[in-house]
C-alpha cells in the first residue's frame, strides 16, 4: 500500500555531531543514517566531517575513513571495492548506487546524506534486510531450464543469440534498482521489482532455455510484472548502466505476443 510517510518507529531523529578532524583544510560534511538494534529507539542522522584530502576518491573511502578515524561503530556492507559484488549499495545524496564506484566529483554540492537502500527493514546503520529481495530473485528461477537431454559437451548458442543477453547478464544483484522504484516501495511484497524482472527476462530471451511458457505463466498476475509503470528510476540509478525498465517492457510485449 502507498504510505508516503515513515512508520512511527522509523522516523529519523537528529543525532550526534562528531568532532571535526584536527588540522584538515578540505572538510566535507556527511549526514549518515544510524540505527542500533541493541540500543533500540528511533534511527538518527549523525553528522560527520571528513578530511577529503585523506579520504581517497570514492564514497566507500569516506565510509572507511569515518570507521577508521572517527567512529568505529558505523556498520555497512562492502567487499570487492570495485563494482562487481554489489554489497555496498546504498542511498547516496538521494540516489541509490554502490559506494565503491561513486566518486565525490559526481555528487551535488553541500551536505551529503547517506542512508540504507530505501523502504527496506534496517538491520543496523546502512545495512538493510534484503531477504524479500533475494526470495524474489529465487522466484524467477534464474538458471537454465530444459526438457531435451543435455548435449555431450555444452548448450550451443549463435553469436546473435548470445548478443541478446548483453545488458542483462551483467546484473550484480546490488538491489539499487528495486529499492529505487516507488512501485516497489508501495508493493514490494507482491511486485517482483526491476532486478528480479531483469533476471526473468535474461532467461526468457535465452535461446537455450525451454521453459519460456512456464516462466511467463509465473509472472502473469496483476502485481508481479504489471506494477511497473515505467517510472524509470531503475534505469536512472543502475550503477552498471543496465536498463530494467526496458527488460520489463519486453516481458510485457512477450505476454501480449503469446495470446495474439
Amino acid at each position: 500500500m502507498v504510505q508516503l510517510t515513515l512508520p512511527k518507529n522509523s522516523t529519523v531523529r537528529k543525532g550526534k555531531t562528531w568532532p571535526k578532524p584536527q588540522g584538515a583544510t578540505n572538510l566535507r560534511q556527511f549526514r549518515i543514517y544510524r540505527y542500533n538494534p541493541e540500543e533500540g529507539g528511533n534511527p538518527r542522522w549523525d553528522t560527520y566531517w571528513v578530511d577529503m584530502d585523506k579520504a581517497g576518491t570514492m564514497i566507500l573511502d569516506v565510509l572507511l575513513y569515518i570507521k577508521n578515524n572517527i567512529d568505529p561503530t558505523l556498520a555497512f556492507r562492502r567487499s570487492c571495492r570495485e563494482g562487481v559484488c554489489g554489497s555496498c549499495a546504498m542511498n547516496i545524496a538521494g540516489r541509490n548506487t554502490i559506494a565503491c564506484t561513486k566518486g565525490f566529483d559526481d555528487l551535488p554540492k553541500g551536505v551529503i546524506t547517506i542512508s540504507p537502500l530505501p523502504s527496506q527493514p534496517v538491520v543496523r546503520d546502512l545495512i538493510p534486510d534484503l531477504t524479500n529481495f533475494y526470495a524474489q530473485h529465487a522466484y524467477v528461477q534464474p538458471y537454465l531450464k530444459t526438457d531435451t537431454p543435455a548435449p555431450e559437451k555444452e548448450w550451443k548458442q549463435s553469436e546473435a543469440d548470445r548478443e541478446e543477453l548483453n545488458g542483462l547478464y551483467e546484473c550484480i544483484l546490488c538491489a539499487s534498482c528495486s529499492t529505487s522504484c516507488p512501485s516497489y516501495w508501495w508493493n514490494g511484497d507482491k511486485y517482483l521489482g526491476p532486478a528480479a524482472l531483469l533476471q526473468a527476462y535474461r532467461w526468457l530471451i535465452d535461446s537455450r532455455d525451454e521453459a519460456t511458457g512456464e516462466r511467463l505463466d509465473d509472472l502473469e498476475d496483476p502485481f508481479k510484472l504489471y506494477r511497473c509503470h515505467t517510472i524509470m528510476n531503475c534505469a536512472q540509478v543502475c550503477p552498471k548502466g543496465l536498463n530494467p525498465a526496458k527488460a520489463i517492457a519486453k516481458i510485457k510485449h512477450m505476454m501480449v505476443e503469446r495470446v495474439s
Partner: protein
Amino acid sequence: MSGSSGADARPLSPHLQVWRPHVTMAASITHRITGVALYFGTFLIAGWIIALATGADCYGAIEGILFSWVGSVILYLWAVAVLFHLVNGIRHLLWDGPNIGFDPGKASAVSVFNYAFAILGAAAIWFAAAGL
C-alpha cells in the same frame, strides 16, 4: 515486509524522505495526476456544454463562473492536463509498443519536452482563443 525474525521491530529505511527525484519520476506522477484531473475536468466541460444546450440564462451563469479569475486558472490547468496526458500518453505507447525511448538521458529530455509542450501549448491555445 520481510519474513525473518525480529523484522517487525526493525525500522523502515527512508524513501521519499531522502530521494532526489529524476524528471522521469516527476513525469510519471504528473501523468497520473493529470489523468485524475481529466476525469473531474470532464464534468466541468460537460456542464459547460449542457449549459449551452439548456439556454442563454443557464449558459450565462456558468460562463460567469468559468471566465472568472478562478475559473480561468482552472480552465488553463485543465488544458495543461489534456496536453501533458496526451503527449506523455504517446510516449507510453512508444515504450510499450515498439519498446523505444528507454535510454535514461533521452527519457529525461523527453520528459522535459512533455512539460514544456503542455505548458506552452496550453498558453498557445489560450492566446488563440482570446483572439477569436
